[in-house]
Each structure stands twice: as structure tokens, then as C-alpha cells.
Amino acid sequence: MKELIIDSYYVAWRELKKYFRQKTRMMVTVIQPFLWLALMGNAMSGLTNNPMAAQFLGTGNYLTFMTPGIILMTVMFTSIFSGTTVVWDRRFGYLDKLLAAPIKRGAIPFGKMFAAAVQGLFQAVVIIIVALLFGVRFQSGFLGILMILLIAGLLSFILAGFSLALSVKIKTIETLMSLINLFMMPLMFASNALFPLKVMPKWLQVIAKINPITYAIMPMRDLTVKGWAYNIWIYLLVILVIDAVVMLWTNTVFKNATAE
């Protein structure tokens, strides 16, 4: 166990060293939330002038409704591409090096998942700061913000793990990208990340209710809009269970991975 953690740490160390060296990527990370909140928020703010819509959204401020959604989307898009690092590593032979090293095999995906979560959370923190500047107030306070980050991190783990498990058998970036896109769009739109459940058609509501994204966004939104609600812990539990399943899955996949 101790070895697994140490090995994972150094796999993550490698990814993060490279991440924080990419100046352009870092800049985009900071600029993106400004664009989202300023453009989207402004364009849609007319919506909340309608009292009916305001009731659906649960808040009179569309930006407040949007912020958890933006955090979620950013975290999703950062972590779901985690698998591309494995495809790259395979391409230039580094994956063989990792597989040949006496590290715990599970450390390869876990390290990369951890790195993806750190990247996602770094972006989430930037978004929260920008949102606060735009006047968004989190009803659950500072502890609530920490809870939002925890949930975002756990979701990041799930998506990165999913993408990593797929990547083991995939030889090209293009194949992985198209597979990811296949899953991402339905996951996004069949959840209440962008629109509240209540305004969705019935059939879409059913899909949204079995979508893991929903279980991340619901507590995040509640913490932002409503404050601490009792069912946050249930959502957290569901997410933790999905996390455990994904970790077991990636561990098995990487344990059996060969250079073939």
C-alpha cells in the first residue's frame, strides 16, 4: 500500500511537472472561466427576469446557477483526456518503461488520475475566484466551497480512470478522442449541468437520473444555491462508490497490460 502511494506520487509528479511547464495551457486555464462567466452569464441573464425561470433555477442570479456547471465541465474536459497521456507514452515507448519498472502497476493509472484531479482542481479554484469577482455568492460558505472542490476532484478521478482504462487497448489518439466524444456529449447534455432537471422532457430526465454527472452536479449546485442540504452526503456516497469501482477497474486493466 505504501509502495502504491509512493509510486503513484512519482507518476503524478511527472505529469504535473509537465503540466505546470506549459505556459500557454496555464494562461488558457485562467482566461477560460472569464469568457464563460462573462459571455454565457450575460447572454442568459435575461432568463432570470422571468419569475417562472427564476423559480426553476432556484436562484435569481443565472451566474450562480451556471458556476457549478462551469466547474463541472472544466473538470470533465480536463480529466477525460487523461487517457491521451497513456497513448502518447505508448507511442514513444515510455509506457514500456513504466510497465517494465518494478512499480505497482496500479500506480500508473492512479498517478495519472491524481494528476488529472490536481489539474482540474487548479482550474476549479480559478473559476471560483473569478465567480466571486463576478458577484456569485456560495450559500454554504467557505466549507461548502471546499466540499465542491472535493466532489469535483472525485468526479475527476472517475472520468480520468474511465479514459485511462479505455486507453490501454487503444493505439492512436484519434481513436481515443472519438470514443471520448461518443460518451462526453450524452453525459453532458443528459445531466442537469446546463439545464435544470425540471425543464427537461420526461425521457431525458430518466437518463439524467442514472448519469454519474448528475450526482456530482446536484450537490455542487445545492451547495452553491441552497446551502447545506441533508442529501449532499448521499450524493457523496454514490460518487465514492463509483470512484471505488473505477479504481478497481483501472487497476485490473493495468495489471494485465502488456506491451502488445
Binding site: 515510455y94 517494465a100 493505439k171
Partner: protein, 338 residues
């Protein structure tokens, strides 16, 4: 225990049906440089990857440093270093970070990594550039770094897959020097190559591998001597007065001459048992006796290429060109499957 690697009847068939290795057995002694010589696609990389546990063998047994690779993969991994054909260094990390990370993957202590990394990077002439990103390095520097990283934990057995592929002559010579030095320090080295000179210059023993089978295995000198002796080729001056036929008859009578024959367009070949260089002056003495003018003479020592030719019926270059096609086709079919 005096064998570093024992491979017994190893077979590897890929999931797409390609039989890369068709039942090979060999063993590598501790402290020797053992070479796998063969064209691309002969099964060299597959063998190396199976021996270090990157690929699962279809059948057969592999013992590495006393550990069964399939039963105790973790222990078997500890005693070996591996530098792959692809030069797997992370080009967005610095040279030092690459080596450091490798040390960490082998669970080394911080101070040991520091000490070994400094020694290795200095030895490989990379110390001044240790804090530069690897993407600024030349191909030769990357290769040196890759080998340095493979050595950070001082492995007992070092695996080098095509260590000088695509490198210029100076870099290649430098890498040969390093490899010899490792051997002096008691390391066992298993390398694959499709350069005949490399196998000849470095290896204590060479296995010639073709189409997934070992065709011959011995010391390079022994393999070469099996081919026969040195080859002297001669051409005669056009306006020679003497009788060429009589001269050739006389040559045939000489001690140590195995055969004399005309190859083509007036080029004659003389095969001698050994010491072809000493035979040449004697030939000239004989030629002047018969009043025959020799216009050119060439001495050829048997090379591993001739050995390769003997066992496979082709030169290594001929094998390469047809293999390239096969490899390309295989890659295409493999991609289509995904």
C-alpha cells in the same frame, strides 16, 4: 547459478496471428555480452520484451537472474535495466528529471539517486546539460540519456534493444565504449542489433535469428571460421605476356590454398585457409616467375554477413528490404483492427 538468463523453448504468437518467435532456447552467462543479430522483424524485440516481462509468452519458460519471469515478475524486474529501441526518454522533462524518475521507480534512496545520476550523466557527457529539457537534445544525446536512465539502479543485467539504431559513427563508437566498460564492471549485457559490425565488435557470443528462429549461436570468431578462410580476388593486366592458366595451376598447388575459380569478367577468386594477407606477397612472387601481370588484388575476410548468408540464404540487407514491406503491412492490419 551461473546463467543470467535462461530461455527455454520460447514461443510468441501475437493476437493477430503473427508468429514472431517460433520456439527458441538459449542462455546467457553472467558477465558476458550476448547479441541477437538479425534483420528487422526477425523477432529480436519480441524476444527481449518477453524476457523482461513486457509481453506474455505463448509458451516456454524464462528465468531471469534466478527468477521465473512469469511466476515472480516483480523480483525479476528488479535486477534488470532496459533501454528500448524507441529511446523512451520524456522530452518535456529535463535530463536529470528523467534519470531521477527512473531511480524513483526503482525505489532508490534520494542520496543514491543523486550520487549515481551525477556519475552516469558525467560519464555520458550530459552533466552540463542536465537541467535542459530533453526536447533540445540530439538523437545521440537522447540515446545516451536513455541508457544512463536504464543504469541508474546499477542493474546486474542490462537489456539494450538496438542501442545504436540510426546513430552517427562517432556516437556509435562512444556507445560501444560504454558497453565494454559496463562489461568490465561485471554487468551482463543482452543486446539486439541488425548491424553486423556491432555484433562482431562487441559480443562475446552471437545468436543469429531469422524469422523467429535461432539459426546459429556461437562466438563471432567461431561463426566466421565456419565459413572458410580468407578470400583473395585478382584481376590480371590486359597485355600480360605469361600464361595465366599455368600461374593459376601453380597457385592451386600451393599449401593453404583451398580453391581457385573464375568469378566473372576475368576476376579470379582464391580461397585460402587463413592468413590471406601473408599469401598476397607469395602470389606476386609466383606471378613474376610466370611473367603474369596482376592489375588489382583484394583481400576479404569473412564477415558475419557471410555467416548470415550461410544460415539464411540471404544477406542481411536483402532480408531487411523484404521485411520492411512485411512490417509495414503488419502495422496497417494491426491498425485496422482497432
Amino acid at each position: 547459478m551461473n546463467e543470467a538468463i535462461i530461455v527455454d523453448n520460447l514461443k510468441k504468437t501475437y493476437s493477430n496471428g503473427v508468429e514472431a518467435v517460433k520456439g527458441i532456447s538459449f542462455s546467457v552467462h553472467y558477465g558476458e555480452i550476448f547479441g541477437f543479430l538479425g534483420p528487422n522483424g526477425a523477432g529480436k524485440s519480441t524476444t527481449i520484451k518477453t524476457v523482461i516481462g513486457l509481453l506474455k509468452p505463448t509458451s516456454g519458460k524464462i528465468i531471469l537472474d534466478g527468477y521465473d519471469v512469469q511466476k515472480e515478475p516483480y523480483k525479476a524486474r528488479l535486477s534488470k535495466g532496459y533501454a528500448s529501441q524507441e529511446t523512451a526518454v520524456d522530452d518535456r522533462l529535463t535530463a536529470y528529471e528523467n534519470v531521477y524518475l527512473q531511480g524513483k521507480f526503482f525505489h532508490m534512496k534520494e542520496e543514491d539517486i543523486k550520487k549515481n545520476a551525477e556519475e552516469l550523466l558525467k560519464m555520458f557527457n550530459l552533466w552540463e546539460r542536465r537541467n535542459d529539457l530533453v526536447e533540445t537534445f540530439s538523437g545521440g544525446m537522447m540515446k545516451r540519456l536513455d541508457i544512463a536512465a536504464a543504469l541508474i539502479h546499477r542493474p546486474r543485467i542490462l537489456f539494450l534493444d538496438e542501442p545504436t539504431l540510426g546513430l552517427d559513427i562517432q556516437t556509435r563508437a562512444a556507445i560501444w565504449e560504454y558497453i565494454r566498460k559496463f562489461k568490465e564492471n561485471g554487468m551482463t549485457i543482452f543486446l539486439t542489433t541488425h548491424y553486423l559490425e556491432e555484433a562482431d565488435a562487441l559480443c562475446d557470443r552471437v545468436a543469429i535469428i531469422d524469422q523467429g528462429k535461432i539459426m546459429a549461436l556461437d562466438k563471432p570468431g567461431v561463426l566466421k571460421s565456419e565459413i572458410g578462410g580468407d578470400l583473395i580476388t585478382l584481376t590480371f593486366s590486359e597485355n600480360t605476356n605469361g600464361d595465366i592458366k599455368d600461374f593459376l595451376e601453380a597457385v592451386k598447388e600451393k599449401e593453404g590454398v583451398k580453391s581457385v575459380s573464375e568469378m566473372k569478367n576475368g576476376i579470379y577468386s582464391i580461397v585460402v585457409e587463413k592468413n590471406g594477407d601473408k599469401m598476397i606477397p607469395e602470389l606476386f612472387a609466383l606471378a613474376s616467375k610466370f611473367n603474369v601481370g596482376i592489375s588489382s588484388v583484394r583481400l576479404k575476410r569473412p564477415t558475419l554477413d557471410d555467416v548470415y548468408m550461410k544460415y539464411t540464404g540471404r544477406t542481411i540487407r536483402e532480408a531487411e528490404s523484404s521485411r520492411d514491406e512485411n512490417a509495414k503491412n503488419r502495422l496497417i492490419t494491426r491498425r485496422m483492427k482497432r
